[in-house]
């Protein structure tokens, strides 16, 4: 709000800047600190004696002879089988994103072009489904999945994540499709296109921003999920987040807590890169539903 008439006092400006700096410190410092600490040995990052060790790298020097060590990373990725977890995460994420976008665009397009009353009720139902805590759904899955013997494998988890993701994707894409003028596909229909052709050749090409936003959110859901993946996958198929938790469970073992630290950094870094790259889309996605009503 840069109004020509609005004169800010210097005191207010200083206060404002200080506030932003403090907030940014609170928001970012934990990540910077964890990143820094992941290159130390456990005795430094979790020091009983003196927290300054984490900066001066007292024990890291003693144990490895250098200021920084990547031991935690190499061990977690090989011995800790984090490579397997990240492979699983990639598989799950790729499939969840592509399937949810495919289902979501079709459904949201239909919802945005329907004038019937049931479209409204479907959106309300989706809102209710969106509110369900995932763990309550998981408690519904476990028993049938055990009986059908489809528990523990990646495809089951992918389908479940796609379904859990649908309500949000539908709402998001619905508000995007609403912004595409109806005349566009109506003229295509008059020219003899079928609804599917109008959707495929007329609407989809102008929908890329919306699709990218929806894709990013599906990706974040699949990538970040803990509840579903921890309970529906067996040890062998665990994705990154449940894997990190499994390192914590045995933290009596010295190496393991540092594995968790390095695994947290390894899992977070790609996500941060992605969001940095697509920041505009993330923000527009969060706001379309809200601002456009």
């Amino acid at each position: 709000m840069e109004y020509g008439l609005d004169k800010r006092s210097n005191a207010l400006k200083t206060f404002n800047t200080t506030f932003i700096i403090i907030w940014l410190l609170i928001a970012c410092f934990p990540f910077i600190w964890t990143f820094w600490g992941s290159f130390k040995v456990r005795a430094d990052f979790f020091s009983r004696a003196d927290w300054w060790y984490a900066i001066s790298a007292f024990n890291t020097l003693l144990e490895t002879g250098g200021q920084f060590t990547s031991k935690a990373y190499s061990e977690a990725w090989t011995e800790g089988e984090f490579w397997k977890a990240s492979r699983n995460t990639i598989i799950v994420t790729v499939f969840v994103v592509s399937i949810s976008l495919f289902l979501g665009t079709l459904g949201a397009y239909a919802l945005s072009r329907s004038t019937e009353r049931y479209a409204f009720w479907i959106l309300i139902a989706a809102l209710i489904f969106r509110a369900m805590p995932h763990i309550t759904l998981v408690s519904g899955y476990l028993f049938p999945f055990f009986e059908l013997q489809i528990w523990g494998i990646l495809p089951t988890t992918i389908v479940v994540l796609v379904a859990i993701n649908q309500p949000f994707t539908l709402w998001l894409l619905y508000s995007f499709f609403k912004t595409v003028p109806k005349e566009l596909d109506e003229s295509a229909l008059i020219d003899g296109c079928s609804y599917f052709q109008a959707f495929r050749y007329i609407i989809m090409p102008v929908m890329w921003p919306g699709v990218i936003t929806a894709g990013l959110f599906s990706l974040m859901l699949a990538y970040n999920d803990f509840t579903v993946t921890a309970l529906l996958l067996n040890q062998e198929n665990h994705t990154m987040v449940p894997k990190i938790q499994s390192y914590l469970g045995t933290n009596q073992h010295e190496g393991n807590l540092m594995w968790a630290v390095s695994a947290v950094v390894s899992a977070t870094a790609p996500l941060f890169m992605l969001v940095m790259f697509f920041q505009r889309q993330v923000i527009s996605g969060l706001t379309t539903g809200a601002v456009k009503g």
């Binding site: 709000m1 840069e2 008439l5 207010l12 404002n16 800047t17 932003i20 907030w23 609170i26 928001a27 934990p30 964890t34 020091s47 009983r48 003196d50 495919f102 079709l106 459904g107 397009y109 239909a110 919802l111 329907s114 409204f120 479907i122 309300i124 989706a126 209710i128 509110a131 805590p133 995932h134 763990i135 309550t136 759904l137 408690s139 519904g140 899955y141 028993f143 055990f146 389908v159 796609v162 379904a163 859990i164 649908q166 970040n224 803990f226 509840t227 309970l231 987040v241 968790a260 630290v261 947290v264 977070t268 996500l271 969001v275 920041q279 923000i283 969060l286 706001t287 809200a290 601002v291």
Partner: protein, 342 residues
């Protein structure tokens, strides 16, 4: 769009939602009426020169046969709902009779697992949601006043706590706040109390998790409010400045009314998300002093010996009812708006 076309377009996503969100809720409902089988016991007579003794042992074979035959367990009706681990009707009426003062009664009741979890979940929602709205709004106002050129990186920094998964977010904080971490160790030094730690006090644990919640959710409120602030019309604001309105008055009487619908949206989403609080409890290893409804379900589902499907399902159903109560005002309002719009 004709109904038939709509049907085919909507079929895949509709099917996915019915199969994996609708049916599981029904499955949870059915499971909540069943409880796991009791172990089959048999009497074993053991004789030695001094006489015979009869001891009771678990018949492993018969137990596993019974479990294989009826994997769902035995029918229990509403038994699971009212047992000690859930609504605990019996215990509560006992407490009511036995305790002298109301405070003591409340104390006893909130020690029961379900009520303990409910109390934590509600406290968490009650403290986190308003603070998230407030902090998010202040950050949005504040960032909005900063030069447009450097806003991009600042926004990126601001939304970091939101994009990491709650488990990672809480771990990252926990490693700093823990007795061996940078903040925890310095607090111990400052307070001159070597035993001060997160796990030692229930209140401290609750406060930490609530602070985590505010840290994690504020960016979401910020992003939405920030976008809404961009749509505030300039003319009334300028008119107010000419008329001599103070900064506070401008915010109170022009900006807030304009973004009011967005505030309700953020409050609703934030409430829904806070009600399912679960991962931070694992991240902060706070199971001992803070348990939420979702955590209770998780705990039943990862039970070592037998997975307590019935117990988890009963808690799930009550959580869903809780969500329904939270959502009811919004749904009623939407329905009224929809009716008047028609």
């Amino acid at each position: 769009m004709p109904n038939k076309t709509f049907f085919w377009f909507f079929l895949p996503t509709g099917l996915a939602m019915i199969l994996f969100i609708g049916l599981p809720i029904i499955s949870t409902g059915i499971q909540s009426f069943y409880a796991q089988h009791d172990q089959v016991v048999k009497e074993v007579k053991k004789c030695d020169p001094f006489g015979c003794t009869v001891s009771i042992v678990v018949d492993q074979e018969a137990t596993s046969i019974l479990r294989d035959e009826k994997p769902l367990g035995k029918f229990n009706g509403f038994g699971t709902y009212i047992d000690r681990n859930h609504l605990a009707i019996e215990q509560i009426s006992d407490f009511w009779k036995e305790t002298d003062s109301f405070g003591e009664f409340i104390n006893q009741v909130t020690n029961l697992p379900f009520y303990k979890a409910l109390l934590f979940t509600l406290t968490y929602c009650l403290f986190v949601t308003p603070n998230v709205l407030l902090l998010g709004f202040i950050i949005a106002l504040s960032l909005n006043a900063i030069s447009r050129k450097i806003r991009g990186p600042l926004i990126f920094g601001t939304i970091l706590p939101m994009i990491v998964t709650p488990l990672v977010g809480s771990l990252v904080l926990f490693w700093m706040i823990d007795a061996e971490g940078i903040i925890g160790a310095n607090l111990q030094l400052m307070m001159e109390d070597p035993y001060l730690s997160l796990k030692s006090s229930r209140t401290l644990t609750w406060i930490t998790i609530i602070i985590y919640g505010i840290w994690h959710h504020s960016p979401f409120a910020f992003v939405v409010f920030y976008a809404a602030l961009q749509t505030v019309p300039q003319e009334p604001v300028e008119a107010a400045i000419i008329d001599g309105a103070s900064r506070y008055q401008r915010i109170r009487h022009i900006v807030l009314p304009h973004i009011y619908p967005v505030v309700t949206f953020v409050a609703l989403i934030s409430l829904m998300d806070n009600f399912r609080v679960f991962e931070p409890i694992i991240g902060f290893s706070a199971e001992g002093s803070a348990q939420s409804l979702s955590w209770l379900i998780y705990d039943n589902l990862v039970n070592e010996e037998v997975i307590l499907f019935g117990s988890a399902a009963a808690t799930s159903m009550m959580t869903i009812i809780g969500i329904a109560i939270l959502l009811a005002p919004v749904l009623i309002r939407t329905w009224k708006e929809f009716r008047t719009a028609r």
